[in-house]
């Protein structure tokens, strides 16, 4: 996973997405091509603010190997203020998650390639109390 993870470090560590100047749509995860405009895309990278609202969520009890220690953990669909919806872990007491709650980005570990492998960092979300 080494080069594959490295290629996207910038987009995972911070919410760097893409913006199509042709139609004004924001995309996160980033896209090389705007699906609305296709060949007429004019895609630029853009730093997203990292704030959004929970659209839906689940609490995972049956976890894959890499995430077993954390269970139960919350995965949510979060609509960023700029528009795109992102799938992410939400660091929150499972009893307190609500559809519509405001959240903000946080820099966390997503996992590692075994004990001797590299560490995967990325963006998760936490409740935004402000």
């Amino acid at each position: 996973m080494l080069p594959r993870f490295w290629r996207k470090i910038k987009y995972r560590y911070d919410l760097v997405g893409t913006y199509c100047e042709n139609c004004g749509n924001y995309y996160y995860p980033p896209r090389n091509l705007c699906p609305t405009c296709r060949r007429r895309s004019d895609v630029k990278e853009v730093q997203l603010r990292g704030k959004g609202t929970v659209v839906s969520y689940t609490i995972i009890h049956d976890a894959p190997e890499e995430f077993k220690r954390q269970k139960p953990y919350v995965v949510a669909l979060i609509k960023l203020d700029e528009g795109p919806i992102v799938t992410s872990q939400l660091i929150c007491d499972p009893n307190e998650v609500k559809i519509g709650m405001r959240v903000k980005k946080a820099f966390r570990k997503y996992g590692e390639d075994g004990e001797s492998g590299i560490i995967y960092y990325g963006t998760k979300f936490v409740p935004d109390e402000s």
Binding site: T58, I60, H61, D62, V75, I85, Q89, G122
Partner: protein, 386 residues
Amino acid sequence: MRRVAIIGVGQSNFGELWDQSFRDIVLTAGIEALEDAGLEGKEIEAMFVGNMSGGRYLAQEHIAALIADYSGLSELHIPSTRVEAADASGGLALRQAYMAVASGMHDIVIAAGAEKVTDVGAELALDILSSGADREWEGFVGATLPALYAMIARLHMEKFGTKPEDLAMVSVKNHKNGALNPKAQSRREITLEMALNSPYVAEPLRLFDCAPISDGAAVVVLASEEVARKLTDTPVFISACCQASDYLALHSRKDMLTMNAVVHAARQAYKQAGIEPKDIDVAEVHDSFTIAEILAYEDLGFAKKGEGAKLIREGVTNLDGDIPVNPSGGLKACGHAVGATGIRQAVEITLQLRGDAGKRQVDAERGLALNIGGTGATAVVTIFSR
């Protein structure tokens, strides 16, 4: 385009088939289908195989060649092709086979689906199935396939008032039907209480909301109308076989509560067959998760968007209802043999239309099969008629 009919069907048992290898289960299904079609095997001109992940489940690629080999068809050097669209691989194989005959390219063709999942551990099996979602941006953050459907379920409950009981009722219905299906993985009925008290997998989905991932194989033999009429008195025609795609990740969809691939494929299929949703007498849909069946009622046009739960509450989709859905027991009771599911659905509808469905027989002239990949990025809708 010529008319195409199914002239033979075969299916292995579905489940945890410990003493059968991948090659074994494929053969079981294939031989049954050929016998059912009254063919020796040399008549087959081409084969299309749906298999999601031989590479990860078995460390074996080149599945199409493997199956042609073990079914004795390599002797005839027929073209054998594997197609993949996660758990819609079977539906894809059916459509490719249908196009091969409809176009006039071939007269007699096999569409097969097969998967052997129990040679790897359950956790790896789920991870492999979850590779039908977006690995980079869904899998990486720990969202499994059940987690994605769970988020759809929660949204459906929030927006339309669907209840956990509604989901449980889908499971109960399918288990009841499965009890009448000798080849189903689970042949015991369950109660609403059992479903509602089963442990959470990814809230709000519980164990009984999720179809098990199983071993299984299914085969159908397709022929042109002319050839079909020579070989059988009970051809079942494919009036339409349509396929559509949608954004891979759930978070990219235009409306997360509508599978646009299903809506698209269904619309095209109804048009091609010259019918409306209400003309369907029986349907096999993709209940990989109970919420998927509720969504299917809506996206196939059996119910308005948001009102899918009504159908299950009012028993409309029960075996004795107006439009029986998943008379076989669906993915939940039959077991979800990933790439084989799409073909298994075709087998069931064919049996139903022929009157060969035994204890779970319903009265039907027109049937529909819906096969979905991942969280809806691929959909295949097939309409069958007598």
